[in-house]
Amino acid sequence: MTDLAVVVPEPIVGRSAWGNAWARLKRNRAAMFSLYYLMLIAIISIFGPWVVPHEYTTIYGDYVRMPPSLSAYPKPEMIQGALTDAVKRMRVDFKEWHQEGNRVIVTVKSTKPVDDRNVRYLDRSDAFDDTRIESKSPDGLEVTMSSAVKQQYFYFGTDNTGRDLLSRTLMAGRISLAIGLLAGVVAGVIGVIYGATAGFAGGRVDEVMMRIVDVLYSLPFIFFVIMLVVFFGRNFVLMFLAVGAVLWLDMARIVRGQALSIRRQEYVQAAEAMGVGQRGILLRHVIPNLLGPVVIYMTLLVPQVIILESFLSFLGLGVQEPMTSWGVLISVGAKNIGYANWLLLFPAFFLVSTLFALNFVGDGLRDALDPKDR
């Protein structure tokens, strides 16, 4: 007798609406790629400034406006100049120098005995490190010093004051993304609360609330923003919270429209007929159905805020030096395109690619959450 294998059918597990949306999103290559790209940008912006060997505020006086390079600074041809500078500061004469491996051997002479403390002039230069006296002539007029060449990498080059552009770009990313999220969330929360209230209250309250939105719409937007800058000028976190507080108008309109239409849906009427309370309808039906459009609009709001922040910083109204953001960097880059185009190109690439990615994710989410709209 053979055992009859009893095949227990797998219970069919339905997928939730969110599961469906996620599956649709995963099929969208552009959106998924953008999502990974955004994660990458976020990770390198958050952790990058700690990993990059340069502080974003450190000024390398000897490396002003150095072009980006994969090989280390100082370049072999720059050593001569850096040495000449350092020796000039010692107020002695340059006799000769040569390089041995990683160290340079410098011989200087003077009409007066050379002070041992002069080694610090070599150490102070950004190009050298670990300087020591190798030998002295008996009368002390000639001194031979040796110094290690400090290898420093500036993959994105340096800016006008000799700061590493890579660490500045990453730091700027941190600020720009943080502001985008912060102000985006502020705008989103205000918009959702305002719009939902108007949509639910309906009638006269709705009328008045939406009329206020209309009036705010007709005010020149830039005026509002600039006034906020004038008020909160010194504190950029406060200022961007305020900027977020200006951007809620669209969200309020969208949420109100959704709330109005959801309230009239048959399933809500059915729930009402079955005696479900206001609270139950709100939690079970309205909020889950509102979430889709809110999520979609949030992904569009964040790039808007980032652009706005960059715009303000570009005009010199936003983030202030030495703190930095992509807008600040681009504005500096735009002023220096004649001789240092990397100052524009790197931050612009980071900003634009992030905006693209956010857009694709937003589009992907719209397709995923609202399949009717395709």
Partner: protein, 307 residues
């Protein structure tokens, strides 16, 4: 139609009034004043200046004065550029900003419509995808990135255009700023046009026209375009206003003596009259453009009637 225009202009008055009032009090409660920045201004001189401009009067009185002057068509003197009245500043800068703005708008409407139509006619083919890619790029890349890149490529590398400056309105000086202003708008127009053209090409009268054996050209240009153009028309109003504010960046980067930069500088220096002047001018433009658009709407679409 005339009655409609008249009624619209009447309803614009309260809107304008609210805007002027909000703006007036907003800029006044902002800390600082127009004569605070200047270094070495002795208290006596500052007091005299403030007395001369009536800044010591109670705020409501200043407000009434300002409204009165505004009704008489006077924006008052600029505080930070004391040799000029606000009206004179606008007389100098506004024509330049308008010239660049309208050129950009016309370029955007023409080029955007053409690109959108091309995309719609080649739906899901190479032409369509390239237009969509261009439109995505145009609406994603901010103006303050486009402008320096145009300077870098056309001005510095290829030496085709001057890097900046107005050059007394020489045509070559306008290319860069107009292009920068137009690009994002081209993107939006192309997108709108693509959508509405696809819709329009599906409609019954187009099928009839094709059945009657009309040429492709005639079907698209004479029949489909008319229906497809409506969203573009309604887009023109907000776009025109956006071009005025967009000019802030473009005028700064290309160093063009328009009105865009006045606003930022004036707000930062608390040049109250100049700020107010700019707000009123922008609001007026928005209102007038929206009105023009609504009237145009009735012209393009005979189903729309205003009575």
């Amino acid at each position: 139609m005339l009655r409609y225009v008249f009624r619209r202009l009447l309803t614009a008055i309260p809107t304008l009034f609210v805007i002027v009032t909000v703006a007036f009090f907003l800029i006044r409660v902002a800390p600082g004043g127009p004569f605070n920045q200047e270094r070495g201004l002795s208290p006596e001189i500052k007091a005299n200046l403030e007395a001369q401009f009536g800044l010591n009067d109670p705020l409501w009185l200043q407000y009434v004065h300002y409204l009165g002057n505004l009704l008489r068509g006077s924006f008052g003197p600029s505080y930070n550029l004391p040799d000029f009245t606000v009206t004179e500043l606008f007389a100098k800068g506004l024509p330049i900003s308008i010239q660049i703005g309208t050129s950009a708008l016309i370029l955007a409407l023409l080029l955007g419509s053409i690109l959108g139509t091309i995309a719609a006619l080649n739906q899901n083919k190479l032409g369509d995808y390239s237009v969509i890619a261009l439109a995505t790029a145009g609406s994603t890349i901010p103006t303050f990135v486009i402008a320096p890149v145009i300077q870098l490529v056309f001005g510095l590398s290829w030496k085709l255009l001057p890097i900046g400056g107005w050059g007394d309105g020489a045509l070559i000086n306008k290319v860069g700023p107009v292009l920068t202003l137009a690009l994002p708008q081209i993107a939006i127009v192309a997108r709108l046009m693509r959508g509405s053209m696809i819709e329009s090409l599906r409609s019954h009268h187009i099928r009839t026209a094709r059945a009657l054996g009309l040429s492709d050209w005639s079907v698209v240009v004479k029949h489909a375009l008319r229906g497809a153009i409506l969203p573009i028309v309604s887009f023109t109003g907000p776009a025109a206003a956006a071009l005025l504010t967009g000019s802030i960046i473009v005028e700064t980067i290309f160093s063009i003596p328009g009105v865009g930069r006045y606003f930022v500088d004036a707000a930062l220096n608390r040049d109250y009259t100049l700020v107010m002047g700019t707000v009123v001018v922008i609001a007026l433009f928005t209102i007038v453009f929206n009105l023009i658009v609504d009237v145009l709407y009735a012209v393009v679409d005979p189903r729309v009637r205003y009575d």
